[in-house]
Symmetry: C2
Subunit: 451 residues, 2 copies
């Protein structure tokens, strides 16, 4: 079956809603570490999939899943030691009162439950989200995901604030941008009140992945959380993207900002691809929810998921992957910033740990989503997988498995510069980047990497 036949068959049996990435979809057959092999046997460097957190096909995780699936897979209506043990271990990764871990099967489910907990506990409906947020695909989380619905389709109980963009945003040039963006949450709460809704919660993805990839500026979360709490709302940190060391040794996007969320949600990397997610909250909130709300899921908190999650933590800790994310991420950002000196289309390089955003601009400095798209496609043709995000869709999204190393970064950088050069001609005219046809900048070692 050709790839075209497979795509057609897929469209017929899985529907037209299942979209693939890239103009020429990747037909994957196997993967290991940071490499995905396609049907032709070609290896692709995976700089995009944060789910394969400790590496594709990671033997320790596979073994843990297989061992536990053979031994016992059941639900939380029974006592199972490994589930309690894993919940304890996850709880131990959080500060202060964040000691209750409620399992779910996906980030969507975790966020849906988190919103529901916030609304039940506060007895309110209102939600404040960032203006290009994505929080999930259930009805409730989709209603708070303007990335998919558009701002105009938000229901009256949802309002939005700009993400804390220090490069392009309204408050980017101000004296205290963190404070100004944080105060916008208070303004949003007033707008909600104006249409008759009190805030149940303010929620942000702490790496603002859909808004364009930002680390919270100084004072941002503290101000936003203070405004929310003053109005009686809860503060939810969506760590589905940022969590488990993606942002480096501090482990969580909210960490290091002097705040403690009321609710944290986890997902994607938690089980290295095994469907596993969670809501983490305080005993007081968990108790209040249990009195008036209900959560049970047949699959959530099953021992196989717990075993997968435990194996992920074991590998992360034994290999120091959170620290590696800081180190390799810094190597990547330095390389990109160096490249920006030669290529004006790179107007900003940002993001914490191994979650890096590259803002692509036209000659005028305006966001250039077409160029960004061309770069992503050229990268894919060079067999390096990255993505694109942001409110203007002009930000390259680089978010590899945490086992990514400096040498992989160097491969990526070389291909990226080539892609930038190639993409100058993409729209039939010369974009304002670089002088020659060949890449100018050289990156670290170019030694061949074992696949």
């Amino acid at each position: 079956m050709t790839d075209g036949d497979l795509s057609s068959r897929r469209r017929a049996v899985m529907g037209p809603g299942m979209r693939t990435s890239y103009e020429r979809p990747l037909h994957a057959v196997s993967a290991e570490g940071v490499w995905i092999t396609d049907v032709a046997g070609e290896c692709h460097l995976d700089a995009y999939n944060n789910v394969a957190h400790v590496g594709h096909g990671r033997q320790e995780v596979v073994d843990a899943i297989a061992r536990q699936a053979r031994l016992l897979n059941t639900n939380t209506r029974y006592l199972v030691g490994v589930v309690v043990e894993y919940a304890s271990r996850v709880a131990g990764l959080f500060p202060g009162d964040l000691g209750v871990v409620i399992f779910a099967n996906s980030g969507s489910e975790a966020n849906d439950l988190a919103w529901r907990i916030a609304r039940t506990v506060t007895n309110r409906e209102g939600m404040v989200v960032t203006e290009h947020a994505y929080h999930g695909a259930t009805a409730l989380t989709m209603a708070t995901s303007p990335e998919e619905t558009g701002l105009d389709a938000l229901p009256p109980w949802v309002t939005s604030v700009p993400a804390p963009n220090l490069h392009r945003g309204d408050h980017a040039a101000g004296p205290e941008p963190g404070l100004a963006y944080g105060q916008a949450v208070g303004d949003a709460i007033e707008r909600l009140a104006g249409v008759g809704h009190l805030p149940a919660a303010f929620v942000c993805d702490t790496v603002f992945a859909s808004d364009g990839i930002f680390d919270s500026p100084s004072g941002y979360l503290a101000t936003a959380y203070a405004q929310t709490r003053e109005a009686g709302g809860l503060c939810i940190a969506d760590e589905v993207q940022a969590g488990f060391g993606r942002v480096g040794e501090r482990l969580w996007g909210f960490a290091g900002h002097g705040v403690e969320p009321d609710i944290v949600t986890l997902g994607k990397p938690m089980g290295n691809g095994h469907p596993l997610a969670a809501v983490v909250t305080t005993p007081a909130i968990a108790d209040a929810f249990a009195r008036r709300g209900y959560w049970f899921s047949t699959f959530a908190g099953n021992p196989v998921s717990a075993a997968a999650g435990m194996a992920v933590l074991d590998v992360m800790e034994s290999e120091g992957l959170a620290r590696q994310a800081d180190r390799v991420g810094e190597h990547l950002r330095l390389g990109l910033k160096g490249m920006a000196g030669f290529h004006a289309c790179i107007s900003d390089v940002r993001g914490p740990g191994l979650f890096v955003g590259v803002d692509i601009a036209a000659g005028s400095g305006e966001p250039d989503p077409h160029r960004a798209s061309a770069i992503v496609e050229r990268m894919r043709e060079q067999r390096i997988l990255i993505g694109r995000t942001g409110i203007h869709r002009n930000v390259l999204k680089i978010r590899p498995p945490l086992v990514f190393e400096e040498a992989h970064v160097d491969l990526l950088l070389e291909a990226l510069e080539q892609s930038i050069v190639d993409s100058r001609w993409r729209n039939g005219c010369l974009a304002g980047c670089g002088a020659g046809i060949r890449p100018r900048f050289r990156y670290g070692s170019s030694r061949p990497l074992a696949t």
Copy 2:
């Protein structure tokens, strides 16, 4: 750590909302086939867990999961052969136009998506559900789950109909109960219209697991679906409980009733415990939804889930488990009906395939939830796991893995009669069942079964 310590630790780290079954929770450590072993090494006959569809710890499924998890686990943004192959295979199990399979991670997610599809495609909000339905734990599905919320808490866009109970319901004694219960859906749609809501969908669990376990009476689904369609709504069959041969060789609860739903949802047994669920619908509905709605899930439709689902189908087919469900279920129902002749507390025995409900009544014939609860607890002390359901919570729920055999049924029946006898004294007075202290009825072979 004692079981009490583990329970306390669990309550602390997983919250008070995670309830366990039974007065003395089962601390499970391993399971195989139809047996669950507790921490003391005691084997328990599992007559409750329909999730372990082809048996606990089933080697073929474990091997498929391990093989695929080592090879490739990724998301639907890439083309992956096994995912398309499995979707095709699931689609092939449905009649007519039901040819599009959209994957999810849990029955809750599948139902949430199904409701969202129905509402998007019809551009309406209204939902008709049965009056003790349970459809999931997301905000949207919980709002349509009166089992958890109570009928009074249903939002105005949800209304309920009685489940087609031929034993106790309003229309049980009428000449054409299927027709009468089906027409109640039309009445419900009128009530919805009265409060300004047009029906997006009528949905029922086709085995009415939460309402008390019923097979649809003759004419019921045809009438209910006709009324729904006449009003412009879609018909959703929630097959999360009934599906994949639980109801016998016809495979689906809706099958054999001369109807074809617009949307079917699948879950629990689909991956033998691996988090896997799906929405099945027609190309026309999938296309209409894709134009205006959005669904993507990081984990849903991953190749490991597909491999698990495929292995479940392989085992089901090679061992004829759907046929076995009919045969063993019939053996169970016959035994129960025999027992009912000696024990008046068994007022009804019902349910299709291997999903059997036993209605427990007091001397007056009224539902007796206390006795039912006592029986379930006595069964657990005899190391046989069953549950309890129904709008009056008086129906024993017997829903074992499909690999359950006649000899297991015989063990269950003997223990059940003992439990019935024992439970007569439970509330300090003699219930109207049986004459002697010892069980009177003898069941098939009592040969020891390999564990």
